[in-house]
Symmetry: C2
Subunit: 483 residues, 2 copies
């Protein structure tokens, strides 16, 4: 295992100081032009050299007829050209001294027949010049903090702590906006395509030592070097969590994966068992992949699986209790001491069972601070889930009914929001126990958005909250066993 | 079974021409004031009579000292008062001749002890005056088209086709914003609380004949009249689908439900079997409750469970195929004839297996019209799922790179969007087969939002799309059996 990203063969692919770009032209519909534009729009500060046989400039960059004409050796070549000429271009890159490439072009092994032959030629050329490459048939890299983005969509939102290695380019490019809605973002995301000489394991090794990556996520259709995969994962998960979505385990998934990347996948139970032994948390879908990463990247190790649920509304509390029980979380009753400490905060219509149901809220401090404190002090409680009724629209209505002006309302809401956010975020820091929320309202609402940005995950429903906490418990159990 | 909503005892509760409102005052923190305000903000056009012993006006409405002082008999009393005086107020309502009430106040049977006694007194008063009431311990009614809304949150979004009867008030009030994000809305939502003399079954009967309700949804913690529930449901599901979320089946859910409404729930398998026999689709969580309603309210009956998946991206296609197979949908291969008809639209890097993966898109008509037409013409295909890469941000980038001005881009995008939306919506109408989409991007993006508003559901991930189609298949299988 490497000790720093600089030792990784991926280092200059993920962090290039300059890029030779093949396939961008003035033709507006060209895929290459789109990819170049999205790197420009993502704020890349290094030098880009479009290589084009006839154009003088492409998207305001001076273009060069041949890579040989460049005055320096770029760190990286990005190739978005017709399949037939990719190999020749890689040869020219090798001659120039370029040692890193992203081959976006498809039409190789994944289409079978002649494509297999072309991929062999590509491999030989890469070997001849010792070129480390991503692809072919991939979307390459998204490194938001450097603005490197060889996918067709511009990066939205801020860089985050999620590392991704994916056998699907879409699962990189389509997730910028998705993650941003949860206040999340990629540290680095890598689309590996046909894995000619850089595979899932190389990416895991890179992300393991990437200081910006707190959790590694994997989208897998098949694994080639099984034993090495498990060894690598076992070494990583001692300190950094890995979450994996594997779709090749069903008959329909297996066939689709084969069509997609030509890879041979294995039975579901085999993969589940390999993940388990390696300390990898398995996600069943895209939501779980990033939900689990959200929890694992933000929350401390729970002492066990005992959860307290706090709500001001019976139905959401019952739903949360039902799903928590079904997936193996424990909802203990509270001790006499805890019940006594809770009593002053529970109205006559409410109850101090678990879930605690306040039935209505007179003072937000009860929901956001006073009751949580009592619960987190209890040594029988490992984790806390709070239902956010989100008093914002209600407060707004109340203030409007008092005759307050819109400006006054905004100002007052800002003050209340600031106070609520502060209370919630202090909680998990003070007690070192996982605290999460859930709400059915939009995560874009200001108070929730700010709670999320302060590091407390607020899930869009109780099921996702409970499953993410269960994943957190699972990860630490597996890790303890491995250690 | 009744034949029209006018025959239902709920008719004047859901559609009151005038309301006597107890518990709203100038006290800003009062729950009653909040509820009155939210009815005003929801656009109620009928007369509201606040009843208050000392105030002259409440929220700009002339207030009355006693209900006896009113010059007419209001259709409905809404009561948001301390538990101890609710019974006396209901007595006064009865004397005045009011025959419908919503009792929001809690503190009755659900808290045990003295509360049980108070609820008995309430029942006796209701019986004495033949008053039909919702509650106690409920949030009453949301009837968006009339602006009747006795919950604390203002209604957001448009009225829709989803009827709801819920043992949780939150599941009414918290869903306005949630449903609006999917382009959905309530026709009528009813919070039933302790079900003193109006229960789940009364609501189901009302919603069954409500012309605005296309699908009935139920949030259930327990059912009291089991046999009658099943008979009623069996009669309804012959023509109108019912989706139910039941949370009392786990040990943790059972306890929480008992705390919430004091009701005794039964084992999970018992409820599952009762739902099955009655033609009710069971949802496992809130997302499924409304996802299934979305599909059932918009999509025609599928001929079977055979699905075609169309994507321009391998990963999302593989995920969709995997989950579809796991939950029992069939992904048949295409006939030689269909493959031949597809050939002109599939690029060299793509394939015409199922899922069809275009790998990239040159002409949106291929994704939105040409290929779907071929697939829906095939008698071996019952349903179609399309992955929307959402070319909007890509098109915007492309046009911007052509030097088009923002105005020109907006205009051109509007034209393209209009055309794409038209193509997709024509599809399901022409072939009478279910067509749905999924995307990982925000459902707020203009093109998707408009496709949704035209009646084609676009789910936020493939799992929810596949499960909703499976629910559609299930419903029609159960219905065929019942018929």
């Amino acid at each position: 295992m490497i000790q720093s990203i600089e030792e990784s063969p991926l280092y200059r692919i993920v962090n290039p100081r300059s890029i030779a770009f093949f396939g961008a032209s003035s033709k507006v519909s060209s895929m290459g032009r789109l990819l170049l534009k999205s790197t420009q729009d993502s704020g890349y500060k290094g030098t880009i050299y479009p290589i084009h046989p006839s154009e003088e400039t492409v998207l305001s960059c001076k273009a060069y007829k041949k890579v040989a004409d460049l005055s320096e050796v770029p760190d990286l070549a990005i190739v978005v050209l017709p399949t037939a000429i990719v190999c020749q271009v890689l040869e020219e890159c090798g001659e120039k001294g370029i040692r890193q490439a992203v081959i976006v072009s498809g039409g190789f092994q994944e289409v079978g027949g002649k494509g297999i032959e072309l991929e062999k030629q590509l491999a030989a050329t890469a070997k001849k010049y010792d070129i480390k490459l991503l692809g072919p048939n991939c979307l390459g890299i998204a490194n938001p903090s450097l603005g490197v983005n060889s996918t067709p969509l511009p990066i939205e939102g801020k860089p985050g702590f999620i590392g991704l290695a994916s056998q699907s380019g879409s699962i990189v490019a389509q997730m910028y906006d998705y993650l941003d809605r949860f206040g999340l973002g990629f540290s680095t995301a890598i689309s590996i395509g046909n894995q000619l000489n850089t595979d899932l394991i190389d990416c895991m090794e890179y992300l393991a030592v990437c200081p910006k990556t707190k959790v590694i996520t994997l989208y897998i259709e098949s694994i080639n070097r099984g034993k090495r995969f498990m060894e690598t994962a076992r070494a990583i998960t001692r300190t950094k969590p890995i979450v994996a979505l594997y779709v090749g385990g069903s008959e329909t998934g297996r066939k689709a994966a084969f069509s997609h990347t030509g890879s041979m996948s294995g039975p579901d139970c085999l993969y589940s068992s390999a993940f388990q032994q390696s300390g990898i948390v398995r996600a069943q879908n895209i939501s779980e992949l990033f939900d689990f990463a959200w929890a694992l990247g933000n929350l401390p190790k729970p002492g066990g699986n005992r959860i307290a649920i706090l709500t001001d509304s019976g139905g959401p509390g019952a739903i949360a209790a039902d799903i928590s029980g079904r997936i193996g979380l424990d909802l203990p009753g509270f001790s006499a001491e805890t019940r006594e400490k809770l009593a002053p905060f529970i109205p006559g219509t409410g109850n101090a069972n678990n879930p605690i149901d306040l039935t209505f809220l007179t003072d937000p401090s009860d929901l956001f601070l006073n009751i949580p404190q009592v619960l987190l002090e209890d040594s029988n409680i490992d984790m806390l889930m709070i239902y956010f009724l989100l008093p914002v629209p209600i407060m707004r209505m109340r203030m409007s009914s008092m005759g307050m002006s819109d400006d006054e309302i905004d100002q007052h809401l800002e003050e209340v929001t600031r106070k609520n956010v502060e209370m919630v975020t202090t909680l998990s820091q003070t007690f070192g126990k996982p605290v999460v929320g859930f709400t059915f309202r939009s995560l874009r609402e200001s108070m929730v958005r700010r709670i999320i940005e302060s590091g407390v995950p607020v899930f869009p429903n109780p099921e996702r909250a409970a499953k993410s906490l269960a994943a957190l418990v699972d990860y630490h159990r597996m890790r303890d066993k491995i250690q």
